[in-house]
Every structure is written in structure tokens, then in C-alpha cells.
């Protein structure tokens, strides 16, 4: 497909279009970042790559949908409920299953989590069917005009919650004893064990926290897109791109990686060709892997 230069210059010289593109890209990117936070948290501590990440988000989406349909709960209010449920699920999964695989080779961990992913996706398919599930909230179609900018309310809420959740997680790991213990176990497992930290419990807590972040992200995501079991793998891949860009294990990296992908996709869509958006994400990924393999905010391994 040839690059249409006329259309490129027309787009770039249209200030209103470019401003809207940047804002939309940033807002979407913050939601992407939120979605990837859990993945980053889990890898940063447990060193297990959660290949069931997208599926967990879909569980969060369906949970929020059930609460909306049967209890009339707004997905924003369903966030704490789903975060708590996913926390419990994540804690039990790590405690009961994944802890046994932490010291095993990476390909075994990979297969285990792919199996978990398939079970989750197919359970969702059996329970809810292939049809897209969505919730209608009063503000679904609302937007705010700020000069030439059109900001849709849902993205503003989602981006706001993404920032809030990142700050909460940051504060938890920075200022609480449990958070510090988790970081200690992540930095030096042997040292942590020597001073008597129960690393298996800490790993389970971390997986629970990561899952809770994904569950909350799923509630927000339900406001933006419809829930179907099939979107899970797309989000797992997107999550990976974001955390690898930002740096595995870095909270700030996940958020910045999300924004980077959101903005670059938006710009590519406006300036080049919308159907080439995802190509730009993967191109960016290769570029970062070449120049800074540990990611933008990652520590050299």
C-alpha cells in the first residue's frame, strides 16, 4: 500500500486533527498502561510471565458485566469488587499452582500459564457464548469540548483511574511493610529468605495484586470495548509489547509504555494508514529492543 503523501501533509497541517489525535492517543495509552500494570508487577517480583494476562482481564470484564446486568452496578463502582475477587483468584492460583513452577524452566512456566489462559478463555466461551457483551452507561456517548478538542468522558475516567491506580500501587510498594518485603524478595530472594520472609506468601500476594490491577482494568475496559472471550490473546500480546517497551517490572514503565503505544498508534492512524497501526507498535518494540533491551524504565538485567 503506497504512502499517500498528499493525505499525510493534509493531516499534519490540520492542527485540530493533530491535537485530537495526540489527546486520544494519550488517553487510550493510559488505559493500555493500566491494563499492562498487572503484568509488570507480577513479572517484576515473581519472574513468571503471566500468559493468562489477557484472559484475566476478560474475567474482569465479564464480572463487571454480570454486576452491571444483575445488580445494576456501574463498571466504575464494580472496580473494587472485581479487584477483590481477582486478588483472591490470583492469590490462590499462585499459592496453589504457580509457586510449584517458579523454579522450573521457563518453557514449563509458559505452558502452564498458556493452559490456564485456555481454560479461562474457554470457560468464558461456555458461560457467555461468543456474542459481544456490553453495558450501557448514561455517559457512554458523552464528550466534553475543550476548544477544538473533543474528549470523550469514558476515556477521561479510564485514564484518570489508570493514573490513580498506578500511584496507589507505587505507594504500596514504596511505603508499606508488605510492599517493601515484596520488593526485597524481588531484589534478592536468598537475602529475603535469610531474614525470614515467607517468599511464597509474598509471591502469592504479588500475583493477587497483579490480578487485582488487571481485574480493575477489565472493568474500565468494559466501558471502552465489548467483552468477548476472543479479545483475550490480543490483550496479552499488547500487554507484553507495553511492558517490554516500558521495562519489565517497572510501574512507571508500564504507564509510559502504554502512552507511547497509544500515541504512536494514533499518529500512525492519522498520518500513514489506520490499518497499519499495529505494525507501528511492533516496529517500536523492535526499535526499543535494539537500542535499549531492558526497556525504557527497566534495569539492566
Amino acid at each position: 500500500m503506497a504512502l499517500d503523501l498528499t493525505s499525510f501533509w493534509l493531516a499534519i497541517s490540520n492542527g485540530e486533527l493533530m491535537a485530537n489525535t495526540l489527546v486520544k492517543g494519550t488517553l487510550t495509552g493510559l488505559v493500555y498502561g493500566l491494563m499492562a500494570l498487572g503484568l509488570s508487577v507480577i513479572f517484576g517480583v515473581v519472574r513468571v510471565v503471566n500468559f493468562a494476562h489477557g484472559e484475566m482481564m476478560v474475567v474482569g470484564m465479564y464480572g463487571a458485566w454480570l454486576l452491571a446486568v444483575h445488580a445494576g452496578l456501574d463498571p466504575l463502582l464494580a472496580m473494587p469488587v472485581m479487584a477483590a475477587l481477582l486478588f483472591a483468584g490470583g492469590y490462590l492460583l499462585q499459592r496453589g499452582l504457580i509457586n510449584r513452577f517458579v523454579t522450573r524452566p521457563e518453557h514449563v512456566q509458559f505452558l502452564l500459564l498458556v493452559a490456564v489462559a485456555m481454560i479461562l478463555a474457554n470457560t468464558a466461551l461456555m458461560l457467555f457464548g461468543p456474542d459481544a457483551r456490553t453495558v450501557q452507561v448514561d455517559y457512554a456517548f458523552d464528550s466534553i469540548l475543550v476548544g477544538p478538542l473533543i474528549l470523550d468522558l469514558i476515556r477521561i475516567y479510564a485514564a484518570g483511574f489508570a493514573i490513580l491506580l498506578t500511584l496507589l500501587l507505587f505507594a504500596f510498594f514504596r511505603f508499606t511493610l508488605t510492599g517493601k518485603a515484596i520488593r526485597a524478595a524481588a531484589d534478592n530472594l536468598l537475602g529475603a529468605q535469610v531474614i525470614g520472609l515467607d517468599h511464597q506468601r509474598l509471591y502469592a500476594l504479588t500475583f493477587g495484586i497483579g490480578a487485582a490491577a488487571v481485574g480493575a482494568g477489565g472493568c474500565l475496559m468494559l466501558l471502552l470495548i465489548d467483552a468477548t472471550p476472543m479479545i483475550a490473546s490480543d490483550f496479552t500480546i499488547l500487554g507484553f509489547i507495553i511492558v517490554i517497551l516500558g521495562g519489565l517490572g517497572s510501574l512507571m514503565g508500564a504507564l509510559v509504555g502504554g502512552i507511547l503505544i497509544g500515541v504512536s498508534e494514533a499518529l500512525a492512524g492519522t498520518l500513514i494508514e489506520p490499518s497499519m497501526k499495529s505494525m507501528v507498535s511492533f516496529g517500536l518494540l523492535i526499535l526499543v529492543l535494539l537500542i535499549r533491551p531492558q526497556g525504557l524504565f527497566g534495569r539492566r538485567g
Binding site: F141, S143, G269, S275
Partner: protein, 413 residues
């Protein structure tokens, strides 16, 4: 013990006679009960991005079983999920043939259909397509592929002509439009057909921009922003349900009002998912597509059977996918009745000679040309009105007056 039993001659004759009668009865009974049967391998996307439409198609095949039985044919449906994926479609088709499917049918999507067509041709198993518009499917000289669905060119010609009829009927002529289309086999085939036919049909508007997007996209906000920046009078969209929903949602959020949203022959906006998800914002969307003639006996029978079997489902929203799928199955049933055999070449020969007068769509009898294509399927303009699909053009078949230009997003309830 040790005694050898003796059989009298009379006893022997009696036994032999009884044996002959016993052997003959099931033979005669069996012959009188022998009725044609067809193992139909149905390939549809039941998971993946097209799952919802695939499921609607399945309902058509399921309803066809009872109708086939009334026509004296035992129809066995062998369902396979293509997972909305071309490679899976090919592999599942191979497997169905291996499992004894005597005919294949499906697959809603052009890319998957093309993959199945290649398998059908290699294995000499007839393939009756339910829905797929890419022209190359029947243009490449396959002998076992039959399509009772218009090619992209015919769909677009009919769709664009109906647009002009709409402008004339409402005395409203847009001057500029933006075309949004998916960049898969189906979307690109329609785009190419639009590019080729647009100048020939002397359309009264020009395209200010043409925007292609990934059909798996979860967010089309940037694409819609780009369309909005061109300030068109009309939005022409080539979509399926998911992307149609995303486009309309973004148009509402971006306060992007146009005279109308018209599909020149794509399936997105008459889908039950589109109507149920968007509610009042789905209203007035226009699709120019082949449609069911509700006055036919078969359509009435199917409507009643659908209501009984799927009471929770929206009939109008399922209608297009369900009807073309049911019709494809009945084309196969008709062929097996005439072929007197389920061998691939015999079935293909019977399919070539198809002439079905009593079907449920608007248009003449179902027949196939030398390429296996039914080229005589007209379109109707249908518009979402109060959650239902109403025919607005051609006037002869209309059950509602067209509304065009449509009310702005903020003026709807």
C-alpha cells in the same frame, strides 16, 4: 446327546420358505423407506471476531434440517468452527471431508470461503457458499464451488444504484462522502468494486477520503477523527457488526453528524448485535443488501420455525445470515434429491442444473452459471426503524418511507 437330529423334507421346505420371506421383508421394507440423505459439512466462524455472525448462520442450517425432512431428504449437519481464521477454515474443511462430509457449506467470510473452496476443488466435494462476496471465489474456474450470493461487483452496483434512488426519493443529494472499510479480503474486494464502478454509475457525490482499518480493531476513534476532519455529507461504510458499532459510537462521541450512514452492500448494520448494542444510535442506518421477501411461503414457514426454536433471539437481526445459510443448505438438499447419489461429481452436476423457484429471498429463481455463480440476486435498501429492519426501497417492496437526511445524534430521544 450324541444323537444326530433328523429334518423331514416338509420341515426343510417350511423353514426355507420362512427364511425366504424373512429375508425378503426387510429388503422390500428397506427399499420402500430409502430416502436420500446428505451429510453436509458446515464451516462457520463460531469463535473469533465473526463468532456472532457465524452463530446466526448456524441457526439457518439448523432450521434447514426440518425443511429438508419435509422435502424427503435426511439432512445431517456436521458443524466445524473456523475460529474466524483462514488457516483453520482450510484445516477444518480437510477434516470434514475426511470424516465423510458429502458436501461443504459456509463460511460467511470471503477469506475463509476461498480457503475452503480450494480444499473442495482438490477433494472433488461440492461446496455451496452461504455468504461471501469476493469475486475471485467463483472467478477462477472451480468446478465444485457454487455461490448463491452476489459478488462484490454486483452488490456494489446494486448498492450504489439504490443510493441514487434514495437521493431521488428524498430530494436530498450529498456532495461529499468518506468511505470507511475494513482491510480484509471482504473489505478490500468491496473497495475495489466501489473504485471501479463509481465513475461508471455517475454518482452525484465524490469521496473526500477513504479510510481502511484493521477489522480486529478495538478502537476506531482515530479513524473516525480522520473521517470527521474531511467534513463529509455522507458516510459510506463497508463493515461487519463489531466495527460498525465502533464507528457509530465514535461518531456520537465526536459529535460527527452526517446526512446518513449507508452501507453499499456490507453486513454490519442490519445485525442484531448492532441494533441491540447501539439502541437509538442504530436508528436510521441504511444497508443496501439482498433481503428476504417476507411474503414467500418459505419465509413465513421459517419465521414461525425461528420463533419457536429461538424465542429469545431477534428475528430481524438474524435474518440475513440465517436466510442465506438456510438457502444454501436447501440448494444442497435439492441437488441430492435430483442427483440420486452423494458422489461429488454427481452432486456437482446436479448443482449446475439447479433451478429453485420457491425460495425466501427477493428475486428470481436460484440458478448457477457456468462458474457456479448465481448472478441474479437483487438488493433492497433497508433502514433501522424502531429497532427493526424495514425495506425502504425499491418502492414496490417497501414497508416504510425512507428517512434521509437522518436526525442528528443529539436529536434522538
Amino acid at each position: 446327546m450324541g444323537r444326530i437330529s433328523t429334518v423331514s423334507r416338509r420341515r426343510l421346505v417350511q423353514t426355507a420358505a420362512l427364511g425366504a420371506v424373512t429375508a425378503a421383508v426387510p429388503l422390500r421394507y428397506g427399499r420402500s423407506q430409502a430416502r436420500p440423505s446428505l451429510k453436509l459439512g458446515v464451516l462457520l466462524p463460531r469463535t473469533g471476531i465473526l463468532a456472532s455472525q457465524g452463530t446466526q448462520c448456524v441457526r439457518g442450517y439448523e432450521l434447514a434440517v426440518a425443511i429438508a425432512a419435509e422435502q424427503g431428504v435426511t439432512l445431517e449437519i456436521m458443524l466445524a468452527d473456523t475460529e474466524s481464521n483462514v488457516d483453520t477454515a482450510r484445516a477444518r474443511a480437510e477434516r470434514l471431508v475426511g470424516e465423510g462430509a458429502q458436501m461443504l457449506s459456509g463460511a460467511f467470510d470471503s477469506g475463509q470461503t476461498l480457503a475452503i473452496a480450494q480444499v473442495a476443488e482438490q477433494r472433488s466435494i461440492p461446496f455451496v457458499i452461504n455468504i461471501a462476496a469476493a469475486p475471485q471465489i467463483t472467478d477462477q474456474g472451480f468446478k465444485y464451488v457454487f455461490r448463491n450470493f452476489p459478488k462484490a461487483g454486483a452488490l456494489i452496483t446494486n448498492g450504489l444504484t439504490l443510493m441514487k434512488d434514495l437521493f431521488a426519493a428524498t430530494n436530498t443529494t450529498p456532495r461529499t462522502a468518506v468511505l470507511m472499510h475494513s482491510n480484509d479480503t471482504f473489505g478490500l474486494a468491496q473497495k475495489q468494486a466501489i473504485d471501479a464502478l463509481f465513475p461508471r454509475l455517475s454518482m452525484p457525490f465524490t469521496f473526500a477520503d477513504s479510510i481502511s482499518y484493521d477489522p480486529r480493531a478495538r478502537d476506531l476513534s482515530v479513524e473516525v477523527s480522520k473521517a470527521r476532519a474531511a467534513r463529509p455529507d455522507l458516510m459510506v461504510v463497508v463493515t461487519r457488526a463489531n466495527d460498525a458499532i465502533l464507528i457509530v459510537r465514535e461518531m456520537v462521541r465526536q459529535r460527527f453528524d452526517v446526512m446518513g450512514l449507508v452501507s453499499p452492500g456490507s453486513p454490519g448494520m442490519y445485525d442484531s448485535q448492532f441494533v441491540s448494542t447501539l439502541g437509538r444510535f442504530a436508528e436510521f442506518a441504511i444497508s443496501n443488501v439482498p433481503w428476504v421477501n417476507p411474503n414467500t411461503a418459505l419465509a413465513k414457514q421459517v419465521a414461525a420455525a425461528f420463533a419457536q426454536r429461538y424465542p429469545q433471539e431477534n428475528y430481524d437481526g438474524n435474518l440475513f445470515n440465517m436466510a442465506f445459510s438456510l438457502q444454501a443448505a436447501l440448494v444442497g438438499v435439492d441437488a441430492v434429491r435430483r442427483a440420486g447419489s452423494t458422489a461429488g461429481p454427481a452432486l456437482a452436476e446436479a448443482l449446475r442444473a439447479t433451478r429453485i423457484e420457491n425460495h425466501m429471498m427477493i428475486g428470481g429463481p436460484i440458478t448457477f452459471d457456468a462458474t457456479g455463480q448465481n448472478d441474479a440476486i437483487p438488493s433492497a435498501a433497508i433502514q433501522v426503524r424502531e429497532g427493526r429492519q424495514r425495506v425502504i426501497l425499491p418502492a414496490a417492496a417497501a414497508d416504510a418511507q425512507p428517512v434521509f437526511p437522518v436526525p442528528g445524534w443529539t436529536q434522538r430521544g
